[in-house]
């Protein structure tokens, strides 16, 4: 038995196999496979710990197909947090076998190297997209709409000054852009800056924008994640307030980062102090009183999708809704199951695209069913996946960041 599995053994043993997680687990709901449900994952991790199965390719699929959405933990009457146990199992797997396949490890390591990341997005924006447009049947690659996938040959940080100042600033904030926004959803990043400056904040956009470390963390590469955390704190630690508009980055900086250093007493206080000054975009903006600055002449119907990291990890749900509802002439329609995962889940959408795309189809149907003309959310990964899910259904409902909706209602 590996040390990590030994540590979590009692938690694995708490699962009473009642199966109540079946209704909550999105990966199970798709085709009813018992090894792709929380109960199955827990029982199989336990079976590995007991030496009853091998950590072969099938086992790897069991732990790596988990969305880590945390919905099962809410449904579990025994209080089993399967997403945490899966994370521990991935850590155990990484230590024993490394990160597989090679492509996944390449992606994860690329995210820690800004130069390589910039090259990839440049290549996609220039050559890649063009090539795909010329090939029939390539609009949807692995469930992602390639034609409308945003990408920029010029990252956001290169498009804005380091300090965007306002007269008599109420607050000074540093903007942690996050890889996805920096290279792909650049216009949403501009919206974030616009909303913050209109709210009277001086916004600093540090030139150095390291990856938050979440992608490495969730695949068990804690060493790489710790290195990223230290880079983040080296750059952002000096600011009083740090804001990010990516739900996943927010969760990493506020929550997982603290857990990552729980056994490092020398650095833990630094991490805790840093985490305490990080705010998710809507969390911060809802304290700034921008409501009376919002104008809108045309009516619109908007719904909101809760990213897993905000609703279940950080428990931020009211703030974005309140902000959206404060836009004049905006009718807010709550969709069915707004808080359920959209299927993106980081690299799950790339490596288990069939599963992921089926989950997104449910989300898209719920958005269409809400009658909304726009769907807003707070995470670029959700934006990418939901946009593709809607396009696959032939829907024209645009996906926007909450910041985009607010920015449109703020006059220049």
């Amino acid at each position: 038995m590996g040390d990590i599995l030994a540590e979590i053994y009692e938690k694995l043993n708490t699962c009473g196999r009642c199966g109540f997680c079946h209704g909550a687990c999105k990966t199970y709901k798709k085709d009813g496979a018992e090894f792709f449900v929380a109960r199955g994952r827990v029982q199989l991790i336990k079976a590995l710990a007991d030496g009853k199965i091998e950590d072969d390719h099938d086992y790897e699929n069991v732990i790596n197909s988990c969305l880590l959405c945390g919905e099962c933990a809410i449904a579990c009457p025994s209080g089993v947090k399967t997403h945490e146990l899966v994370l521990a199992a991935r850590r155990d797997y990484k230590l024993k076998k490394g990160i597989r396949p090679f492509l996944k490890s390449l992606i994860l390591s690329s995210m820690t190297k800004p130069g390589r990341l910039k090259f990839v997005f440049n290549f996609f924006d220039g050559f890649g997209k063009n090539a795909m447009r010329r090939l029939d049947g390539m609009q949807f690659f692995r469930g992602i709409d390639m034609y409308t996938m945003p990408s920029s040959n010029n990252p956001f940080v290169a498009q804005v000054p380091e300090v965007v100042s306002v007269s008599a600033p109420k607050k000074r904030v540093a903007f942690f852009v996050g890889c996805f926004m920096n290279y792909a959803f650049v216009s949403s990043a501009h919206s974030v800056v616009k909303v913050l400056t209109k709210a009277g904040c001086e916004v600093t956009v540090p030139r150095d924008q390291p990856c938050c470390g979440l992608p490495q963390y969730v695949y068990g590469d804690f060493e790489a994640a710790r290195a990223q955390a230290k880079k983040v704190i080296a750059t952002f630690g000096k600011y009083d307030t740090v804001v990010t508009a990516c739900g996943s980055c927010a969760s990493m900086l506020k929550k997982e980062m603290v857990e990552l250093f729980h056994d490092d007493p020398s650095y833990l206080p630094t991490v805790k102090a840093f985490a305490a000054k990080v705010f998710e975009f809507s969390e911060l903006v809802s304290t700034l009183g921008i409501e009376d600055k919002l104008h809108s002449d045309s009516p619109q119907i908007v719904t909101y999708h809760d990213p897993c990291h905000l609703v279940r990890y950080l428990k931020v749900t009211d703030e974005p809704r309140k902000l959206l509802k404060s836009v004049p002439r905006l009718q807010y329609n709550e969709m069915f199951e707004a808080n359920r995962c959209c299927g993106a889940a980081g690299l799950v959408m790339a490596f288990y695209q069939e599963l992921s795309t089926k989950i997104t189809a449910d989300k898209a149907a719920n958005i269409i069913g809400s009658g909304a003309e726009t769907v807003a959310t707070s995470c670029p990964a959700c934006m990418l996946k939901i946009n593709s899910g809607l396009k696959l259904k032939g829907s024209k409902v645009p996906v926007k960041h909450v910041a985009d909706v607010l920015a449109e209602a703020l006059r220049d």
Binding site: G16, C18, D31, E34, P77
Partner: protein, 466 residues
């Protein structure tokens, strides 16, 4: 060059793939382990799992298994509490999860035609749009399939007033081990002439045939509902209220009882603010066509409950308060995991008039065998789920648990009750069944099994050995 010998296993898998398609056949050690368990502590390993998507595929699979001597164990979501879906020797698991179409909803006749893989909750959700529902609601209803519900004849909190699964199945299609497709019962009527084979199929735990289609009875959602919550000093006080409510001529939708141990584990799980020193709690729910009728019932229930001197009595006035009343009950079973890693859940049922004696009997069993036993009961129909807490890894304690289980069953039978109210027999209660029935009755059961499945291919060794 050596040519690899094709094993029996390869031949079986190849045949299943030919019938059901590659996507619908699962093998491999990891996956087979995942189909080895259910909600009990039993375990077995199947040779393969197949997910038929049509009645024809079921027929082809059954024919193949008959010809090659492979046993068939049916399975839905695997949430049963009796070991009914535990793999047996030389078996495949036939899983109904991917046959999940709702074929017809006929509101004029209160009927829906569905496939067995439809999850109970999904039916409720679908019907709610029309203002209808399907009354049986086992605790696992968010997970469990209708195939499983019918196989086990599931009950649920509402069954005191509304009955169990058996009362809502008009007819069904199933495939017997000879590969024939049969339809029994009707589509629109509760009864068809002659032998009621539909009711024999309900609760047959997959031993007679593999069910592929159901005509279920649906009903309009009652317009009004009132929910009350009472906490008592002693379980016997709660038992008295149960008897008095029914004696007053009221048939509540729900009468759920939880004892001190379960109140505490539920509080551990939810932090909902339940009084930890209460000896028992009772959830009382009445429903009907209009609020006016219910007001009288609520008034009577209030008087009756007050007579038993409760610690607290609440009438929920908002949907949120109703939800709060149910929260503890919903988590009750799983929440015992906060106390001990393993539990054994019994399903004994006694005549309602013997309810207080049964409560006393469970408390005595707990003392006799030095085990923590939590009491959870559908009190209206005298159905108890005593939860015996233990650690499976402790051999000596596990032995005591088995003895306590037998003692509980004996106690229920002595009170004129039954060992299983709604969970079925499966493997778990198989050794205890002859305590309940005369040999001649057991013989009749075996003859029914032989009439449907003479070659003993469908879920063999469950309930009894042929």
């Amino acid at each position: 060059m050596a040519v690899a010998q094709k094993t029996d296993q390869d031949t079986l898998v190849e045949a299943l793939i030919n019938i059901a398609g590659e996507q619908d056949v699962v093998t491999g050690r990891v996956a087979m382990y995942a189909y080895g368990y259910d909600a009990t502590l039993l375990f077995g390993v199947p040779r393969a799992v197949v997910f038929p998507e049509s009645t024809q595929e079921v027929v082809d699979i059954v024919n193949y298994c008959r010809a090659t001597g492979v046993n068939i164990v049916p399975r839905g979501a695997g949430t049963n509490e009796s070991g009914g879906t535990i793999p047996v020797d030389n078996c495949i698991i036939m899983n109904c999860c991917r046959m999940k179409k709702v074929l017809e909803v006929d509101l004029d006749n209160y009927v829906a035609i569905i496939e067995p893989g439809v999850v109970n909750y999904d039916i409720q959700e679908m019907l709610a749009k029309y203002g209808y529902y399907y009354p049986p609601d086992p605790a696992s209803y968010k997970a469990s399939t209708m195939g499983g519900n019918v196989g086990e004849c599931s009950g649920g909190p509402k069954c005191f007033k509304y009955g169990v699964t058996r009362d809502y199945i008009y007819g069904m299609e199933f495939v017997t081990s000879d590969g024939k497709v049969r339809w029994v019962g009707g589509r629109d009527f509760c009864s068809e002439p002659f032998y009621d084979l539909t009711r024999i199929m309900c609760g047959s735990e997959g031993t007679l045939g593999y069910m592929t289609k159901f005509a279920i009875r649906i009903e309009p959602i009652p317009a009004a509902k009132r929910t009350m919550l009472a906490f008592y000093n002693e379980p016997v006080d709660a038992a008295q209220s149960v008897a008095d409510i029914v004696a007053a001529g009221i048939v509540p939708t729900t009468l759920e009882m939880m004892d001190n141990l379960i109140i505490n584990t539920a509080e551990d799980a939810t932090g909902a603010g339940l009084p930890r020193d209460a000896g028992a709690m009772l959830i009382i729910e009445v429903d009907g066509p209009a609020y006016g009728d219910l007001d009288d019932q609520v008034k009577t229930i209030t008087e009756v409950v007050k007579k038993a001197k409760p610690k607290q009595f609440k009438i929920a006035t908002t949907a949120a308060e109703v939800d709060a009343c149910w929260l503890a009950r919903r988590v009750a079973i799983g929440s015992v995991a906060h106390r001990a890693p393993s539990y054994s859940m019994q399903d004994i049922t006694v005549p309602r008039s013997k309810f207080p004696q049964a409560v006393a009997g469970i408390v005595q069993t707990s003392k006799d065998y030095d085990l923590d036993i939590g009491i959870l009961a559908h009190a209206g129909d005298g159905n108890f789920h005593p939860l015996v807490l233990f650690d499976q890894r402790n051999k000596e304690q596990s032995e005591r648990v088995h003895k306590a289980e037998a003692a509980l069953v004996k106690m229920a039978l002595d009170l004129g009750g039954t060992m299983s109210g709604e969970h079925g027999v499966g493997l778990l209660k198989k050794p205890l069944l002859p305590n309940e029935y005369e040999p001649v009755t057991m013989g009749a059961f075996r003859n029914i099994k032989r009439a449907f499945d003479p070659i003993n291919r469908m879920n063999p060794t469950k309930i009894f050995d042929l």
